[in-house]
Structure formats: structure tokens, C-alpha cells
Subunit: 392 residues, 2 copies
């Protein structure tokens, strides 16, 4: 086990009706709140009204900024920063999914940064300060409700970069699984693929002696894969949604990756797809992950045998590890397919003409000095290109 | 799954050499530190000198208070409160095991409480404020390094009570598994029994639809049971100690019990043993737990079948659940025995003449109005007496 530093202070208030407590919960921490949200589904569902009522009952002033898109844009972040400064906002409440929360985090740190907040993403500069962020989660997927991470798309530069700081961990996050009942099936499936990937990126490692976190990763994965098909068939199944919601938080609050070298190649490769083609993050991950597994498994076959047996439930002869591994990957593909997720770039609507460009961007080879990605196996741009081609 | 509120902000700094960072880590939070410790093993091991050097290098003033005993005493807590007030201490650093940390938490809240801090334990009053507590863990067992709980013994009244508040969660905890290498075998075994019990108390529940937390509990238990015999045979096995140390934290930081009704009867029953006979908490738990399982399993046999199969690895006919359950409990007894733990109150040195008194104290029947204990099965004093007799 490697040395580690675990810090996950976001308070999770979980369950039916929890969103009605938002005003009471924020009162000790804020006087003027920016309510940040997406395309307006929170207005149609009535969530917006309940949130505003709770803020008002508790004497909290607020301003609002809607319009966050999937793959949240830098331009709206700039708008939010200006608004917070002008209105002297002291807390941002993100009501939405990962995009809204990531956008809120960008605004939260941008308020205290003198230059363009994009610098922080591009040059990974350390921040000293950020406004507190609270969240009401409407889509379990990104894990942003407990993480210190944010991913923003610079639409002008066609770049999608992530940034992380312990100062961006939300103060508190409300999770009422009833809010997930009305999600479109495609969004559910993409969200599940994203949550699973957050575990995969931590699970696949060359670090040894990781009994506890191996087991934690495996149980989160099994829980997600058991309950995802249930909500797809029965969108109002509260109990199954509880498992997915809580599972998505545990997948990405940091715990299951402590003390182990992590991978994250699939996330980096996917960000190139989203940056240019604006695909849903989770669908991109579902396409790339099995291809990545096939390409890298030879570097650590025992890890992939363990995945096949402990996660995918494969039984068979350990004297033929390749067969176990292939069956594990095939089962994962079948799971994604059952969830209605695409299996190829073509199905995602991505043509094959910019694969090399994306591979070179993913490894920064396009920007002068190449920086290979991935922990389990280091991938150079030629490797990334191979993986893109494999799932074409 | 039940509604829940999860908040576990203690930062865990884990690994080799981490104790040497204590001064640097505390500097932003303190100017004068109370260094609180036990019988002086930290002086013999050199840990004390390293800690003091790190505090001094970072310009932190300090005072010290040693002498914490297992089952930490109220009298020393009173002394610590007076010292902190007199010296204007602004942070307490507990260097030791659960007893030292629990004593530090008692002092931390006592500093701001006008009356006798014991009131808080006896009447469970809510606190507004406490000094920040940091820890350097030397015994993985109590989980107090991340929890908001403290247990103190009032030696005059022969009472041992617990108290919990989110304000008592440590600011940060240092965990270097190398510090565990020199622990006596008996202490290791008792610590493991305590950590396992923290999971059991959360695991055994009548709440349904708890896939994720079931799995988390089971993987923590399997990890502890795999690695405990390794360190008993090979006390310098760093990797196995990592699993136990990290496992003990996850066992008690709250996560694995979220959304489920918890039990805690064994802990309450054990506190009566320690309060009168001053036995080590973990050994008391090892004696009581299998007896409790046998007494209560009929109320939820499926939960105990799951325990036998998923935790204890029992294979057999599900058409004879009683046999599966009994084999699971027998395996647990054999595990405790392999760890050198006692199986009966007699082996613990506890005579049979005060069992009824303890049973009546455990359920508060001794104090006028009875308050049954336990979540999975409500236990009245007669039930507790039955369990005490069963393990006599």
C-alpha cells in the first residue's frame, strides 16, 4: 500500500425530502446564495420552487444563473464569476448534475482568482481560496457532489480540462433519490458508466497489497451493476436508486483509490471525444473502456483475472487466464449493451478522421512535449491511437 | 435504505514517516498544543521525541499531559481541562490509542463546558464547541481517529459511558503502520476484535435494500480477518498492518453503517464489564459477540446466513440455514481463539456474582426506567442476563 492523504469532508444528506432542508442547512454558512442550474428541468419538476421556498423561509438572499450545458462551458463560468462579484454572493448552490456542480466549482474559485480562471485548468495552479459550494444532486454520475474535481470545456479552444483541489470539496450535498425518477434512460446509462469508470480508474493498478481497497472497489462495482438494470426497467424504484446514488458518491469521494497508483487513461481519452464532438462523457467511457482493457491487460493479467472473477462473476479454469480475462471483458461489453450504451465510436457519431489529432492531444504530444497517460500501462499517442482504432 | 447524514471530515495522513509532518500539519491550526498520551510507551519508542521536534521546528508551543490508562478516567480528563484553560491551549494532540484520543476529546469539549464534563456523558447534552483534536495513532482498534465518539470511565461511580458529536471528529489523524510493530500480541488481538465489532454493530440490521453497505461491511471484515493472523505471526509485516490500520478507520468513520438501523448491544454490554472489572474492551467484545449472535439470530436468520456465507466463507445447504448460521458463528469463535482471545467471562477473570447488576445497568433498568438495547433484537435486562450467562 502506498502512503496516502485522505480528506473527504463533504457532508452527504441523503434521502426522501432532504432537499427541503437546504435553507436550514445553508443558513449558518451564507447570507447570499447563487443558485446555479442547467436547462431548466429543475423548474419543470418543481425542485426549483421548493429550493427557493426553503432559502426564503430561512432568510437567505439569492441570485440565480441557469443554462449550464453538459460539458459545461467556460463562457458561462465567466458570467457566473462576474455575477458573484457584483452581487457579493458568499455561497454557490448547484442544483443539477455533475456539469452544474463542476461549473459552480469553477465559479467558486474564479471569484478569488485575478486572471482568467481557465489558467487554473490549463496550468494546474494551486488555489488559496474558493467560495463554499453546496449541491442538490439531480443526476448520479460524476461524483462531483463529494469530490474536489471540476472539468470545464473551453469551447473556443476545443479543450476539456480537469482541475482538482481539496478547497473545492463541497460543503454539503443533498441527495434525494426520488429526484432521479424522471431521468431519461440514456442519461441513466451514461451516468452508470461514468460511476463505474470512477472505480475502474482506481481499481486497475500495479500496486500490490491493497486488500481493503480492492474489496471496496469490487463491492461498489457489483452494487452499481446489480441496480442499474433495475432502475432502467423500473425508474421509480427508490431502493435501487439509493444504491446507485450512494454508490456514485463512494465511487468518487476518494476512499476506494487510497494507497494505490491510479490509472485515469480512459478519462483522458474520453475528454478528447467530448471536447470535439460534445458526446456524453459516460457514453464515451463505455465505448473506450473495454478497448482499453483489451489493449493493456497483458501488462498485468492477474489484475484482470481478479476483475473477471470478483467483479464480473466469471468462473473457469485459472490455468487459462486469457479466457477468464476475455470473458470478463465480454461480460462488461454485454452489460453496457444491455444498458443501451454504444459500443463503437461510429455508434457515438464520431468519424475516424481526427483520431490521430485526439491521440496527440490526449498525451500532450500535440503541444510539444509528450506526457504519457495511464498508471497501469503508460500510453503514448500511438497507443491511444491504437485504442481509438480498436473501438472505431 | 434509511435516510442518513454522513459527515466524516477527519483528514487521514497515512504511511511511513507521516508522524514527522505533524508540526507542519498543525501549524495553520494552532499556536499552543496539549500533547496528550498514555503510559509513556511513546517516550520509550522515540515517537515522543520526533513529535516534539516537529512541533518545535514549526514554532508551536506545547504543554503535555501523560498517564491516560486503558478505559480512560474522568479524573485525568478534569486535570486536562484545567491545564488547557490555564495554559490557553488551542489544540489537543493525542498520541496513542483510542483511550488517549477519547480522553483528548473529553478534554476538548470540557474546556468549553461550564459544568462537570461528565454531565455531557450522563445526560447526552449537545455541545456547541470543542477544541480541535489531532491524533497520532499508535494502536489500531477504537477507530476514534476518525469518529466523533468518546468513551470515558467515571471510576468513582463505576460507570463507563459514551458520547458522540460531529464537533468531536478529529481535524486530522496521522497513521504510520510502522508504529504498530511493537504492540503486544494481546493488544493486537483485542484491537482487531474491537474493529470487527464496529462493523458487526452496523452490519447486523433488519433494514433491507442495503447492497452497498452490506458489501462494504463484508469486505472490511474479510480484510481484518485475513490480515490479523499475519501480523500476529509477523509483527513487522508493514503491508498487513496497513490493511488493519486503514480497515479500522473505515470500520468506524461512519460510512459502512449509513442508511441502516444499527445494533450496538454488544458494545453496551461490554461497557458494563469494563466499568466494573477494567477488562480490555476488545476482549470483552470477543467473549460477548458469539453469545449475542446465538441468542438473537432467530429474529433475522437470513442476516446471519449472509454473514456465514459472505464473511465467514461457509458453503453448504441453504435448505438448512441453522447449520450455516451455526458454522458461521463457530468459525468466528475459532478465529477469536486463534487470535488468543478469551471465550468466556471466566477466562476474562469475571466472576458470576454481579451479572444481574450489570444486565440491569446495561438497559438502565437499574436506574428506574428500562431502555432496551440493540437494533436487530431489542434486549431487556433479562435478555442481557441470558447472554452474560451463555458466555459465563
Amino acid at each position: 500500500m502506498l502512503n496516502f492523504d485522505f480528506y473527504s469532508p463533504a457532508r452527504i444528506i441523503f434521502g426522501k425530502g432532504s432537499e427541503n432542508r437546504i435553507g436550514e442547512l445553508l443558513k449558518p454558512h451564507a447570507s447570499k446564495v447563487l443558485v446555479h442550474y442547467g436547462g431548466g428541468s429543475i423548474k419543470r419538476s418543481g425542485l426549483y420552487d421548493r429550493v427557493i421556498a426553503s432559502l426564503q423561509e430561512n432568510g437567505l438572499a439569492f441570485v440565480e444563473l441557469g443554462g449550464v450545458l453538459p460539458n459545461p462551458r467556460l463562457s458561462l463560468v465567466h458570467e457566473g464569476i462576474a455575477l458573484c462579484k457584483k452581487e457579493k454572493v458568499d455561497l454557490i448552490l448547484a442544483a443539477g448534475g455533475g456539469s452544474t456542480i463542476d461549473s459552480a466549482k469553477a465559479i467558486a474559485m474564479g471569484v478569488y482568482y485575478e486572471g482568467d480562471v481557465w489558467d487554473l485548468y490549463e496550468h494546474n495552479r494551486e488555489i488559496e481560496k474558493a467560495l463554499p459550494v453546496a449541491t442538490i444532486l439531480t443526476i448520479p454520475a460524476a461524483g462531483s457532489e463529494s469530490s474536489g474535481d471540476t472539468v470545464i470545456t473551453n469551447e473556443q479552444k476545443q479543450l476539456k480540462y480537469g482541475y482538482g483541489s481539496p478547497r473545492l470539496r463541497p460543503l454539503l450535498s443533498i441527495m434525494n433519490p426520488e429526484l432521479f425518477f424522471t431521468l431519461p434512460k440514456a442519461q441513466v446509462a451514461a451516468g452508470v458508466a461514468d460511476m463505474m469508470s470512477h472505480v475502474f480508474e482506481r481499481y486497475f493498478t500495479n500496486t500490490t497489497h491493497t486488500d481493503l481497497t480492492d474489496g471496496l472497489c469490487e463491492t461498489v462495482l457489483r452494487t452499481l451493476m446489480k441496480n442499474a438494470p433495475i432502475v432502467l426497467e423500473d425508474p421509480q424504484n427508490y431502493e435501487a436508486w439509493c444504491e446507485l446514488g450512494f454508490g456514485g458518491t463512494v465511487a468518487h469521494n476518494g476512499l476506494v483509490g487510497m494507497g494505490r497508483e491510479q490509472d485515469w487513461a480512459c478519462h483522458v481519452m474520453e475528454h478528447e471525444l467530448s471536447a470535439i464532438y460534445d458526446v456524453t462523457h459516460g457514453t464515451g467511457l463505455a465505448v473506450l473502456t473495454p478497448g482499453w482493457m483489451e489493449y493493456v491487460h497483458g501488462d498485468n493479467p492477474n489484475m484482470f483475472v481478479q476483475f473477471a472473477v470478483n467483479v464480473m462473476g466469471v468462473q473457469g479454469s485459472y490455468r487459462d487466464p486469457e479466457a477468464l480475462i476475455q470473458e470478463g471483458i465480454d461480460r462488461l461489453r454485454r452489460f453496457y449493451s444491455r444498458m443501451g450504451l454504444p459500443a463503437t465510436l461510429t455508434e457515438l457519431g464520431i468519424p475516424g478522421d481526427r483520431l490521430e489529432e485526439m491521440a496527440k492531444k490526449a498525451t500532450s504530444a500535440a503541444f510539444g512535449s509528450e506526457n504519457p497517460i495511464g498508471g497501469l500501462k503508460k500510453l503514448y499517442w500511438q497507443d491511444v491511437l491504437e485504442i481509438y482504432k480498436r473501438v472505431k
